[in-house]
């Protein structure tokens, strides 16, 4: 037997908590998506992996474009 009685108020609070959680998760996803869109500017992202790659070097890229 449960030690607390389930009441409509519990359901309402639970609904509020779940609703807020969903909104926060969606907000985080939107901000993450927005960050990716802003940083990539429409092109693919490349992370720095501690080794030299010419494609990450702005001087090299400028030289290639000449």
């Amino acid at each position: 037997m449960a030690i607390t009685r389930e009441h409509d108020l519990h359901k309402r609070r639970s609904g509020r908590n779940v609703g807020l959680a969903v909104v926060l998760v969606l907000f985080i996803a939107l901000v993450f998506g927005l960050t990716i869109a802003k940083v990539s500017g429409g092109s693919a992202l490349q992370a720095f992996d501690h080794s030299y790659r010419p494609s990450l070097d702005p001087d090299h890229v400028r030289f290639q474009q000449r």
């Binding site: 607390t4 409509d8 609904g15 939107l30 990716i36």
Partner: protein, 324 residues
């Protein structure tokens, strides 16, 4: 053993459901805001990354919702008296006024900053101005002070397509202004038609609607005058880059029908209106909703048709205001 007393009423403030907090944001108004802002965003020259566009629409809608919450906080006393609004979360005792204020202020700040970050500073500023205009200029000042409340306050509802346009272009243009003016000029006849058959509500709440301060005869005349004043702006949009033959043809029919409705309202007296339960007023009010929706659908249709080279060449002849 329980942490809860079950012998008290739970309609006490602060125990509203998630839906009650959503209701504070006026979701029906938000849907209109989303639609008009989306049209402004889609027909503007240039483009946004889809995620940026989605974020822009969400934050414009959130800003509109925030101003709705602030309006409900300020107008709780009026809402309690009026039948149409007595079921809103604050008068119904589901949400405390302070919570509505907190939600409104928090969402205002969040939506403005996020729209600025997602798009540009001008769009963020315009959203901030819209919230200020609706919450302070309209709700706190004009609504209780002048029968022209609807005329000037209508600007708040007219901003979304302009903000959508600015989110893409970063600047204000003739097309954006005409979309603004279309909603701005449409608002008075739309709301006065509503006020004609909801008069007792506004009267009870002591809101100086035109029907209360100047009577119904004057209101009927105002509906006709403002409908006539609306027509040039509705048609002018068809002569700019967002218009074209499809928009112009539809706008011509819609404006003639709206004018016909406004004339019918003007020619009626109270005895006739009460006799048929305000049938004409209700019909014109419902039509005014379709009127605005279809104008924006036509603007969207023109943008879609512009991708067809044959149509674009033909439509260009109509866009004589495009240079401005």
């Amino acid at each position: 053993m329980t942490d809860l007393r079950t012998d008290i009423s739970y309609a006490t403030p602060g125990e509203g459901s998630f839906g009650d907090y959503v209701a504070l944001l006026k979701p029906r108004v938000m849907s209109l805001v989303v639609f008009t802002a989306l049209v402004g965003l889609l027909v503007a020259p240039g483009s946004l990354h889809p995620v940026e566009a989605l974020a822009a629409i969400i934050f414009i809608a959130l800003g509109a919702g925030a101003s709705g919450a602030l309006n409900m906080w300020w107008d709780a006393d009026i809402d309690q008296v009026m039948k149409r609004t007595s079921g809103r979360p604050i008068p119904a005792g589901k949400v405390a006024p302070g919570e509505a204020l907190g939600l409104g202020v928090a969402l205002s700040g969040l939506s403005v900053i996020m729209l600025w970050l997602a798009t540009n500073a001008l769009a963020g500023f315009l959203l901030a101005f819209t919230i200020f205009f609706y919450a302070v200029i309209y709700s706190m000042w004009l609504k209780r002070a002048t029968p022209q409340n609807i005329v000037i306050g209508g600007a708040a509802g007219a901003f979304p397509p302009l903000i959508g346009w600015v989110a893409v272009t970063g600047s204000i243009s003739l097309e954006a202004c005409l979309m603004f003016l279309l909603i701005f000029m449409w608002t008075p006849p739309h709301f006065w038609a509503l006020a004609l058959f909801m008069k007792s509500d506004y009267h009870k709440a002591n809101v100086p609607m035109l029907t209360v301060t100047h009577g119904r005869k004057v209101t009927r005349a105002h509906i006709l005058v403002y409908t006539i004043a609306l027509i040039p702006f509705a048609l002018a949009a068809g002569l700019t880059s967002i218009g074209g033959p499809v928009y112009l043809a539809l706008a011509l029919v819609l404006n003639l029908m709206f004018l016909q409705g406004a004339v019918a309202i003007w020619r009626r007296d109270e005895a006739q209106a009460e006799g048929d339960g305000y049938a004409t007023e209700k019909r014109v009010f419902r039509f005014s909703l379709a009127y605005l929706f279809l104008h924006f659908v036509a603007i969207l249709a023109e943008a879609a048709l512009a991708n067809l080279p044959a149509y674009a060449g033909f439509a260009a002849q109509f866009k004589i205001l495009e240079l401005f």
